[in-house]
């Protein structure tokens, strides 16, 4: 059993940053993303893989990210780089490792095994560093549930849409139709396994309305957050994923009423004219937790 509070932390926005660009990794926390994803994979040119690791190591060790989660995206398991990537992640004590192109439970286990070796080497406690898996292929998406269940270190899965659409032999259309099944499958698998689920990036930075619509849609589907490529997207993303004051007040009433009525032995009652029973309780609790995590809750629950 892993007892790491990061397993369920708030991850509305997970922002990619090239681990090799000093100007980018210096102070991304000022944009207040929930997580940054320091990238050793696609953003780093093949001949700079080594340089990116030194840069990453010192960033992890020396830059104060002010509580923003430090995820590192390592190179795929088919490459020559991933094992050393894991060593540097563990030695630098990042918060989480993102497995790219994850296709099966075996991939997760392979990463976990390498992590164990590195943890022993660098004296890091097992469970301190978590895992997330990016699903980038039809096979990966099909195996979503086994991936989610592969390791107690794994906190969630993320769709990586670029490679996935290539595998599907289609393109990103902007309508979301090409991702419909993958998104449905992934959120279902994640929830079934009690994990978090994150959506793919939205690359057209000038289309903020499109970004908002897509974020609203995936939130409605149940997703916990979205991978983002630019700080411009953070505010909108957080707006969508943060409960409104109206929702918070409603949730607060439900939690308080349920607690009170339960003590009195009453099962069904009304809040603002709406029939409420115990089934509304977990959702209301989640809203309050989300509001607290987002720093917008001012009540006393």
């Amino acid at each position: 059993m892993i007892n790491n509070p990061n397993l369920t932390r708030l991850r509305r926005s997970m922002m990619f940053l090239n681990a090799q660009k000093p100007g980018l990794i210096k102070d991304p926390f000022i944009y207040k993303p929930d997580s940054i994803m320091l990238d050793l994979e696609d953003a780093v040119a093949e001949n700079q893989k080594d340089a990116a690791r030194y840069s990453l190591y010192h960033a992890l060790k020396e830059i104060n990210y002010h509580g923003v989660e430090r995820v590192v995206r390592i190179n795929g398991l088919e490459t020559a780089h991933w094992k050393e990537d894991i060593r540097v992640c563990v030695a630098g004590r990042c918060d989480s490792i993102r497995i790219s192109k994850c296709e099966s439970a075996a991939d997760v286990i392979a990463v976990e095994e390498e992590m164990k070796k590195a943890e022993a080497e660098f004296g890091v406690e097992h469970g301190e560093i978590l895992i997330m898996a990016a699903l980038e292929s039809t096979k990966g998406v099909l195996n979503a549930l086994e991936i989610c269940q592969a390791s107690p270190l794994l906190f969630g899965i993320a769709l990586s849409g670029g490679d996935y659409t290539k595998d599907l032999q289609t393109v990103i259309s902007g309508t979301g139709v090409e991702f419909a099944w993958a998104r449905g499958q992934m959120i279902n698998a994640a929830r079934c396994a009690g994990k978090q689920c994150f959506d793919t990036v939205f690359t057209n930075l000038d289309d903020m309305e499109g970004f908002r619509k897509e974020t609203e849609m995936i939130k409605m589907m149940g997703f916990d957050g979205k991978s983002i490529v630019n700080p411009r997207q953070i505010a909108v993303c957080h707006e969508v994923f943060t409960p409104t004051q109206k929702q918070i007040i409603q949730a607060e009433k439900i939690v308080k009423e349920v607690d009170e009525k339960k003590a009195m032995g009453i099962g069904v009652f009304t809040v603002d004219g709406k029939m409420i029973d115990i089934a509304f309780y977990p959702g209301a609790k989640r809203t309050i937790e989300l509001a607290k995590a987002a720093g917008v809750y001012e009540g006393d629950l």
Binding site: K26, D27, I30, Y31, I63, L205, N230, P231, R232
Partner: protein, 519 residues
């Protein structure tokens, strides 16, 4: 002698320049003095023509000789051809020891550096300098002192007689044969001639240089025939592409947008944000973005700006057109939109540099400002700002209206990114003080907002706006924690320039730079 901002002003400098150390922003308030006056050559004979064939002829007619002071304006910004054309002709005459008294100088004027080196130009008085002239000053090539004055301070210096201009060369977008100059129209339209007005009034000889001669009378004139001796027509007085740029695309840089949002939230949470408020802002990305976001809130709340002041760019003109500003009172135009606006909109009005910012006339517009939004190279823990000398010690910027508006406005806001590469913008002591901290109220950075402890009222406003409030020391410490504490720059002994406070006292000096010493 240690002045009121704690800077040591060498006795020799005070004596050489016959100036006093800075004693506080309002120390000379209420002082009485008699204005200077130019020597005027009467033009009684109507048959006499003011038209000359060339700049060379004008230079000769004006009798330029060793030790004289010649003046220029900077309304053509980096597109200016006038300074170089005139100086080239003066240089041909072999005149030495000239003082250039310009409202500002930029990279466009790099060609005059050899004239600094050969002793043609030995003194420079300007709002500031950029490029190679700055390097020439900082490396000690200028024989005399560079005096950096604010826009208001320059007018004061001229009107009070601290500097006397022998010949003013005034580039005019349009001019008639008798010297009536207008800023609008022509090939090198710059919108206004605000900073040149005082030159025309106080110089012994005034030469109008235009590339667009128009029929008489060219009125209403920015500068009137009664102050003009000669008119010269040349092919081009400037490069229009560099005088005014097209509308800048609003920034998408999230850091700048964050700072703009902090600024707007602060402004609207002060008691000064009410119908009829007055406002001045700059042309940086964050300033423009905050003008745009402020405009939205003004519209929502039905609050109008009574006065928009100073250097003007497109976004302010758009608010004027939308009826959200009553009057724009203009001293400089930064883009084509502003130039178009002043030529068409009767509520967009040109004023003189004296009206704008002279601290020792009977009351300048800056005194009526509620807000001014400024930038800075450095701000220190005393809230002093430096806008002239970079963190390596090189002269590279201009005071402009910075100290004038800061002194005048009820609420002076400085927007600055905490870090420029490894250079912390918030530091213990600025390299050079150009604007005293007593006139700076709020500093907005991407890492947080600091309020001058002298303004507890504004601190409450910042808290009400839910801004990330920090002390100025906390901001500095955050910067130093990232960059390391910078070394204090070691300068050479020689003073190459002085930063003149707007009242004519010395607020700081600039030393010659020297090679870095490793040990």
């Amino acid at each position: 002698m240690i002045n009121a901002v704690g800077r040591d002003i060498p006795e020799k400098v005070l004596q050489d320049l016959n100036m006093k150390p800075f004693a506080g922003t309002y120390a000379r308030n209420g002082e009485e003095y008699r204005k200077a006056a130019p020597k005027v050559r009467a033009w009684m004979d109507p048959k006499e023509s003011k038209m000359l064939d060339s700049i060379a002829e004008a230079v000769k007619k004006c009798g330029i000789k060793d030790g004289m002071t010649v003046s220029f304006h900077h309304h053509f910004r980096e597109g200016d051809y006038i300074v170089n054309m005139v100086m080239e002709e003066i240089h041909k005459l072999g005149v030495k020891d000239l003082t250039i008294c310009a409202s500002s100088l930029g990279k466009a004027h790099n060609p005059i550096v050899p004239m600094i080196e050969d002793g043609t130009i030995t003194n420079i008085q300007s709002s500031g300098v950029r490029g190679q002239i700055g390097e020439a000053i900082s490396t000690g090539k200028l024989k005399g002192y560079a005096i950096m004055r604010s826009h208001g301070g320059r007018v004061r210096a001229i009107e009070s007689g601290d500097v006397h201009i022998d010949v003013a060369f005034i580039g005019a977008p349009t001019c008639d044969c008798y010297g009536n100059m207008r800023a609008v129209g022509g090939k090198s339209d710059c919108g206004v001639l605000s900073y040149a007005y005082v030159d025309a009034q106080y110089a012994d000889k005034v030469v109008a240089i235009t590339d667009t001669l128009v029929p008489y009378p060219n009125i209403p004139a920015s500068i009137s025939q009664v102050n003009v001796d000669y008119v010269v027509v040349v092919d081009e007085i400037g490069n229009p592409a560099k005088i005014a740029t097209g509308a800048a695309k609003p920034t998408t840089d999230v850091r700048k947008l964050m700072q703009a949002e902090y600024c707007t939230q602060f402004v609207i949470n002060t008691p000064y944000f009410k119908d009829g408020f007055s406002y001045q802002t700059g042309v940086g990305g964050a300033s423009i973005a905050s003008t745009i976001s402020l405009g939205k809130i003004m519209k929502e709340r039905g609050i109008k700006m009574g006065l928009g002041l100073g250097g003007i760019a497109g976004p302010m003109c758009e608010l004027l057109e939308e009826g959200l500003i009553d009057k724009i009172v203009d001293t400089q135009d930064f883009d084509l939109k502003a130039i178009e606006s002043i030529s068409k909109n009767p509520n967009h009005i040109e004023i003189t540099g004296s009206e704008y910012a002279n601290p020792m006339n009977k009351g300048a517009y800056v005194n009526q400002l509620d807000f001014v939004i400024l930038a800075s190279l450095e701000v220190d823990t005393h809230f002093n700002c430096n806008v002239v000398v970079d963190s390596n010690g090189m002269v590279t910027g201009a005071q402009g209206g910075h100290p004038d508006t800061a002194a005048g406005a009820k609420c002076t806001i400085v927007i600055v990114p905490l870090l420029q590469g490894r250079t912390p913008a918030i530091c213990t002591d600025v390299t050079t003080v150009t604007t005293p901290g007593e006139t700076v109220d709020v500093v907005i950075t991407d890492y947080g907002v600091a309020v001058n402890p002298a303004r507890p009222d504004l601190l409450e406003c910042a808290k009400a706006a839910k801004l990330p409030v920090k002390t100025i020391e906390e901001l500095r410490d955050m910067a130093y924690a990232i960059t390391g504490e910078p070394e204090k720059i070691k300068f050479g002994d020689r003073v190459v320039g002085v930063i003149e406070a707007r009242d004519g006292t010395i607020i700081d000096v600039v030393h010659q730079i020297k090679d870095y010493e490793w040990d």
